[in-house]
């Protein structure tokens, strides 16, 4: 294994992006650092640390920098891998799904994924099959998939091999251009690779990094601090452009592009915490990556949370409602919070019922707990200490 990055052209090397979590968990923070550091040491690999992917604005420095990269990308985030992939897609950082073997659940999502069964016949309807993404691959990894940097490094090496980038290459020039743009507003960087950017979100202040240390040995860090955001993310490999979401949402979040394809046009119009449109989507194509229900957050079938849910103890109301009723209630709660009038819910409405059925199917399987033994162990330790 070579210890230093040998560099190569941007399109001919791998970009590993670590998206930092919002959580203050020291374990998460140190894992992020370790992954970014180990990635920087791999051949033909550039390592970049960005703030929480989902919070990034389209004009943020991090997004602008990522858009410049034309080669393969590995994106690591504290989101389900599907969510990570489609958040990038929405920022026009697009490619084909790279196969990831490091998954955050030990139950693979291939054989028992009932949803995939009808997929082939309907494949032609999917937006992603009509608006074909570029051929470069994007590998999205959920950082909950492992707890040591070594397992991630092994996955990076496997990906380098797949991309035929495991042997050192020589073209330093283009990578140098990525790292040291000749932009007069270029940001300087201290010895540890930290950009001293202002973190402002307007496009003019944003510029790619320069690199003060030997090429690629330390991770590049985008030092910006975006506000928290909340908006839907569309999985275009599932979306059929049926327009149920645009009809349902009364806050003007959705729009269509020039080709009449649905898009999340005004993400910041979305009501924080409200996942209602994802419940009415007949294809389960709408994700809220931060929602606590794994099915809504983009979980593969059968993934579960790893944590104990105390909501019932802290006053969660008992509810017995189907997804369509939940969606209507949530939308009404948001209308009232926004100072608007609630709207009637008609349970006979076909679109609501159709969508509700689709979501119900997924939720019923996805809420089956699938937990890791080490989490279980520590949980039980805790229970012991509580003297139950």
């Amino acid at each position: 294994m070579v210890s230093a990055n040998n560099g190569s052209s941007v399109s001919n090397s791998l970009l590993v992006v670590v998206s930092q979590g919002q959580s203050r968990s020291p374990e998460k923070r140190s894992l992020e650092d370790a992954i970014a550091t180990i990635a920087a040491s791999l051949p033909n690999t550039t390592s970049l640390v960005v703030p929480h992917l989902y919070d990034l604005d389209a004009d943020s420095q991090s997004v602008i920098k990522l858009r410049e990269w034309t080669g393969p990308i590995v994106i690591l985030s504290w989101l389900f891998d599907r969510a990570g992939f489609w958040v990038l897609d929405r920022h026009e950082i697009r490619g084909q799904h790279g196969e990831v073997q490091l998954l955050n659940t030990d139950i693979a999502n291939e054989d028992d994924d009932e949803e995939d069964e009808g997929e082939d016949e309907k494949a032609a309807d999917r937006v992603a099959n009509i608006m074909v993404r570029p051929s470069r691959r994007i590998y999205s990894i959920d950082m909950r998939a492992g707890n040591s940097a070594d397992v991630f490094a092994a996955e990076f090496r496997r990906i380098l091999e797949c991309e035929q980038l495991d042997a050192p290459k020589k073209d330093l020039l283009s990578l140098d251009r990525f790292l040291n743009p000749t932009n007069s507003t270029a940001l300087s960087m201290d010895g540890s690779g930290r950009l001293d950017g202002s973190g402002r979100l307007d496009g003019n202040s944003a510029s790619p990094a320069s690199h003060g240390s030997p090429l690629g040995i330390v991770p590049l860090r985008m030092d910006e601090h975006p506000q928290r955001r909340w908006y839907p993310v569309i999985d275009y490999s599932r979306c059929t452009n049926c327009m149920e979401c645009i009809d349902f949402c009364l806050f003007g979040v959705y729009g269509v592009d020039r080709g009449e394809t649905i898009l999340v046009e005004q993400p910041d119009n979305c009501r924080k915490g409200c996942p209602a449109c994802s419940r009415v989507c007949p294809e389960n194509a709408i994700m809220f990556p931060q929602h606590k229900t794994p099915a809504i957050a983009g979980a593969p079938v059968d993934a579960g949370g790893f944590k104990i849910d105390l909501s019932k103890l802290f006053g969660a109301p008992e509810r017995d409602e189907d997804p369509a009723e939940a969606a209507a209630r949530e939308r009404n709660e948001q209308l009232i919070l926004a100072g608007r009038a609630a709207v009637d819910f008609n349970p006979a409405s076909t679109e609501l019922v159709a969508g509700g059925t689709a979501v119900a199917t997924v939720e019923s399987v996805s809420t089956k707990p699938d937990r890791k033994p080490d989490e279980l162990d520590s949980l039980l330790d805790q229970l012991d200490s509580l003297d139950l």
């Binding site: 849910d309 909501s311 103890l313 802290f314 709660e333 919070l337 089956k368 707990p369 033994p373 139950l388």
Partner: protein
Amino acid sequence: MSESLTFMMGDFAAEFPMDRLYAKNHMWAIRMENEVVRFGFSAYAVRLLQDIYFLEFDIEESALLKDRQEFGNIESKKAESGLYAPMKGKVVKINEQLLNDPSGINVDKYGEGWLMEIQGDSSEMLSPAQYLEHLAKAWDVAQRTIKGQANTIESNEE
């Protein structure tokens, strides 16, 4: 701090200051001016949650909340939960400091780690003694819930 009552959660002694009221969903409540009530997590809630890593408010100041309406969520090392309104009313203040550093709740739950202020009718709040009675019942349910979830986990592991 003023005098307090103690409730034993197993071997852990949870302390509840007498200078305030309590909500059934394990928040403390201090009445301020103009029917405004400041809320924070009680020692019972903090003990169940332990180290808090993440907190999110889904509402903004001036939002009108129904009783038990979900207004955010919280995640700790071991657990997660929605946040539910302790009473009906208008949100007048949110402790934004906690977004960046939710460990403020662990550090000073009865002081700087307060959560929010709501303006409304707080007549349903419990006195410390009433809250302790409520806890005696709640603690049984909590143990069953935690154990129940742990058992589900265990049976699925096999």
